[in-house]
Amino acid sequence: MSIAEKYTDEIQAIFAKYPVKRSAVMPLLYLAQRAEGYITKGAMAEIADLLELDVTEVAAIVGFYSMYHDEAAGKYRMQVCTDLSCALRGADAFLENLCQNLGVKVGETTPDGLVTVEAVMCLAGCDKAPMFQLQQGDQVSYHENMTVDKTMELVEALRKSSKQVDE
């Protein structure tokens, strides 16, 4: 199903927000990411059509902003901040231990396809490091003052809830 069919009302509301059609490109890309977990070539073409843009222009925006993804990854992207403030509070060691526990390297996905672990730039959570955000489609949640144990519990909970949904 196309994005236009799937999110008709939301798209109308997005267009109503701006005096210029092109301004809708970022919110529409988030909808595309919600639909498939990442932004497919087909979605880019559809958004380009809706906004009367060249598909290259849409792809350039996808490439520019780090929260848009044009490739599939795990169901959740676990994005650990390793910038200066967090690193001063042990974020690098946290990330390393977490990866060991999950059996992946930074940038890799757990074998069951649940979690992709990534290192990202500052998330404005500096006082509560180690911290990360979980990105799923267009949604984001913060997890702060984390330990590897707490994170592994969270991963277990995500695993259970995904299984229930699948069943």
Partner: protein
């Protein structure tokens, strides 16, 4: 003293609109719209001496007065892209005290005659944007936004716009590009956004914390606002304290509070019996202040305001104070900051794009102990060639820590290949 900006710390449920109203909420907006001319609001804010809290410290009322009154419509855009490493104050305001912030945005709209305002949030603040959308709907329902506000002819509508992970969009012209649906790359100035801004129209761009001060200024007047802070840096400021400190967090304190009071009275000092070695008072964009025994008292007794932080060789910026203890060396620190800036350089200006690429190579090599003394000189030279040669401040910011680290901590750069 009760908080002025972080009022939720005194009134926990202030994010509930009824609680906000019971505590004077929207009275300032009503006072402005029903009893003051827009120009009077601008004059009051000018007289208050409020300076932009996003980092530049430019006087807010003066910024507003640059909008021409023969070009319409005007836009107000709130910069809620908070992305400087070490800064996490706007997030707390918007999460826990949203209505005071939104009332501030509405007052700014009234002051400059804007009927539409956009709030640009970094994409990571998705849950905050959802909450603000709900708050805006509630305000519209209760008549604090929309048409005929308080029975007058004033109309104000506010909308949120989510970024998608790009530090550069905190730069005001890149932010405008991003709302317009383009890659967030800075514009050449002039023309300035006050004349040619969003959709080519006169635009005011203010930071979240700046705008959250406005209800207080309208309620208490310029003189009331000036009860806190210094003559040139009036008011309170939220200091985001992070790094090697016992109690990291946000602290709302008068501008001009000393480093000592922030770090030791509020922050609880340096943990694990370590010594403070360096301070970055403006996040990753800071010149690094060296704190050793010879200058310890001088630095600690320095008032943190826009003027005095310069006297110890740095700047206040957005007051994101990162503390670094004596277990860390500056070759590691600048490797971190350059890693950040290399990732966040938008690529438009060659000195910043290529300069950060080479600076990253050099800092990696230096930090790994695989560099020659010549590489340290080369790093300093590359930084010097980036500085002052780009369209926006990101290029300059990327060089501040590098150059001051090499200059002020030479012993950290001696770990080089023979």
């Amino acid at each position: 003293m009760p908080h002025i900006l972080l009022r939720h710390r005194d009134i926990p449920d202030i994010k509930n609109i009824e609680v906000y109203k019971q505590n004077g909420g929207f009275e300032s907006l009503k006072k402005a719209v029903t009893t003051l001319q827009p120009k009077q609001v601008v004059e009051e804010v000018k007289a208050s001496g409020l300076r932009g809290r996003g980092g530049a410290g430019f006087p807010t009322g003066v910024k507003w007065s640059f909008l021409p009154d023969n070009l319409w419509p005007h836009y107000v855009v709130c910069n809620a892209d908070e992305s400087e490493p070490g800064t996490f104050k706007d997030r707390e305001i918007m999460t826990y005290n949203p209505y005071q912030f939104l009332e501030g945005v509405a007052i700014a709209c009234y002051a400059v005659g804007a009927t539409e305002g956009y709030i640009y949030l970094r994409g990571e603040f998705y849950p905050i944007a959802e909450q603000l959308d709900a708050c805006l709907a509630e305000m519209e329902k209760q008549g604090y936004l929309g048409d005929k506000l308080f029975g007058t002819e004033t109309s104000i509508r506010l909308k949120t716009h989510l970024g998608a992970g790009a530090y550069i969009c905190g730069e005001e012209t890149a932010l405008l590009e991003s709302i317009e649906g383009k890659r967030g790359q800075p514009r050449l100035r002039p023309p300035f956004p006050a004349v040619v801004g969003l959709y080519g129209k006169p635009t005011v761009i203010n930071n979240v914390e700046t705008l959250t001060n406005l209800p207080y200024i309208i309620e208490h007047g310029a003189a009331g606002f000036r009860q806190n802070g210094t003559e040139k840096s009036p008011g309170v400021k939220i200091f985001s304290l992070s790094g090697n400190v016992a109690n990291p967090g946000n602290y709302e304190l008068p501008l001009g509070t000393t480093f000592r009071e922030l770090i030791f009275t509020h922050g609880g000092g340096i943990p694990n019996g370590r010594k403070l070695r360096a301070i970055m008072p403006a996040g990753a964009s800071s010149s690094i202040i060296r704190v050793d025994d010879a200058v310890f008292d001088k630095v600690m007794d320095t008032p943190m305001d826009y003027e005095n932080v310069q006297s110890v060789g740095s700047m206040l910026g957005s007051a994101s104070v990162i503390l670094i203890d004596d277990t860390h060396t500056m070759d590691w620190v600048i490797n971190k900051t350059i890693h950040f800036f290399k990732h966040e350089s938008c690529g438009k200006c060659t000195p910043c794009r290529d300069g950060n690429y080479w600076m990253l190579h050099l800092t990696e090599r230096i930090h790994a102990g695989q560099a020659s003394a010549q590489d340290v000189k080369l790093l300093d030279s590359v930084a010097a060639q980036v500085y002052g040669k780009c369209l926006c401040a990101l290029g300059d910011f990327s060089t501040m820590a590098v150059r001051t680290a090499i200059e002020r901590f030479p012993e950290d750069f001696e770990k080089v290949k023979a």
